[in-house]
Symmetry: C2
Subunit: 183 residues, 2 copies
C-alpha cells in the first residue's frame, strides 16, 4: 500500500516513512507548498492544507501539522513553531524561559487524510517540559530542548525515546490503524 | 468622502480615522475577520485580505497590515506582531533583546485599497530602535518599546511623535493623496 505525504519538510517525511514502513505502509513524498492559513488550531490548518493538496494531486494524500506549545508562554510558538525557530532559534526560546518555574510544554501533531471522499484527522500529543539547555544531536526542530514526561533525556539525545513517545508517532499510529482496518 | 476600513482592531481604526479626517476623508469601520494567509510579506497579506473584504462588502474598502521588524531577531515578530504580542508580551520581546548590541528595528505598514476595479497598495516605514524598557502610556501594541530614529521618546511617551512619524501615518498619507487626486 502506497500513499502520498504532502510536505516540503524532508525531515518530517523521512521520520514518517520510517514509522509507517513498520506498519506495512509505503510513503511517497509529494513536494507541496502553498499559502497556509493563520490559525492557532493545528486541525484547522491541516484541514485547509489537505483540501489544497488534494485539489492538486487528486490522489489519496495526507498532510501533517505540528507544533510545540509552551504553557508559561501562552502556547507560544504553537502552530507557528517552524517559523519561530527560523526567526529566534532555540536560544530565543531558552531566553524566553529564563526564570520561569513552569517549564511544562507539549508537542502536538494533527494528520489530515483525504482518500478521495472524506477528510479524516488523527491527533497525537506528547507532554513534557523544556530543558534548561539544548542537548543531543539527533532529531530536528525543537527536539534538543524537549524532555518527554517521566524521562530525563531530550528527544535529540534519544531517538528511540522520540520514536516511541512522539506526537508524530502517535498520530501516525492512529492513522495506520485506520488505514489497515479498511484494507 | 466616506470609505470603509475593514479591520477588527478598534485602536487601528481610531488612529486611522483621526489621521484621515484631517485630509477630508471620513472612515467607517467595516468589522471584518477572516483567515489571514501566512506570509512574511505585508503586501501579500494585505492583497489577500482586500480580496476577501471586497468580496463581502462590494464597496470601496481598504485594509492595513503592519508589523514590527527587529533586525537582530531576523525580522521577528514581523507580520506576526499582534499574535506574538498576545503570546509572549512586551516582556518577551525585551527578554529576547537582552545582551543584543544591535537594537535596530522598524515598523512597516501596507495599505491595500480596492475601489471596485483595481487594487492599489501604499506602504509606510518608520525606522528606529527597541528601548531598554517599556515607557509611556499612549498608543497600543509595541508603541511603548519603540523609539523612532533620531528621537529619545517612545511612541507611547509622545503621541505627537507617533502621529507625525509612524508607518501607519505615512501609508495613510500616501493613500489620502491618491484618493484626493482622483476627486
Amino acid at each position: 500500500m502506497e500513499i502520498l505525504f504532502a510536505t516540503s519538510n524532508k525531515n518530517k517525511f523521512n521520520e514518517a516513512a520510517q514509522m509507517l514502513k513498520a506498519e506495512g505502509i509505503d510513503l511517497k513524498q509529494y513536494s507541496f507548498s502553498y499559502n497556509e492559513i493563520r490559525s492557532d488550531s493545528l486541525e484547522e490548518i491541516a484541514r485547509d492544507a489537505i483540501t489544497a493538496a488534494y485539489k492538486r494531486c487528486k490522489l489519496p494524500v495526507f498532510v501533517e501539522d505540528s507544533g510545540l506549545f509552551i504553557e508559561s508562554l501562552s502556547g507560544f510558538p504553537g502552530a507557528y513553531s517552524s517559523w519561530a525557530l527560523n526567526k529566534i532559534g532555540l536560544d530565543g526560546i531558552l531566553k524566553l524561559m529564563e526564570g520561569k518555574d513552569n517549564r511544562s510544554a507539549y508537542f502536538e501533531a494533527c494528520i489530515a487524510y483525504r482518500d478521495g471522499y472524506d477528510v479524516v484527522t488523527f491527533r497525537g500529543k506528547c507532554p513534557g517540559r523544556i530543558s534548561e539547555e539544548a542537548r543531543g544531536e539527533d532529531g530536528f526542530g525543537y527536539d534538543s530542548i524537549f524532555i518527554p514526561e517521566g524521562e530525563h533525556q531530550t528527544f535529540a539525545e534519544s531517538i528511540e525515546l522520540k520514536n516511541k513517545l512522539s506526537h508524530r508517532y502517535k498520530s501516525l499510529l492512529e492513522f495506520s490503524k485506520s488505514l489497515n482496518s479498511r484494507r
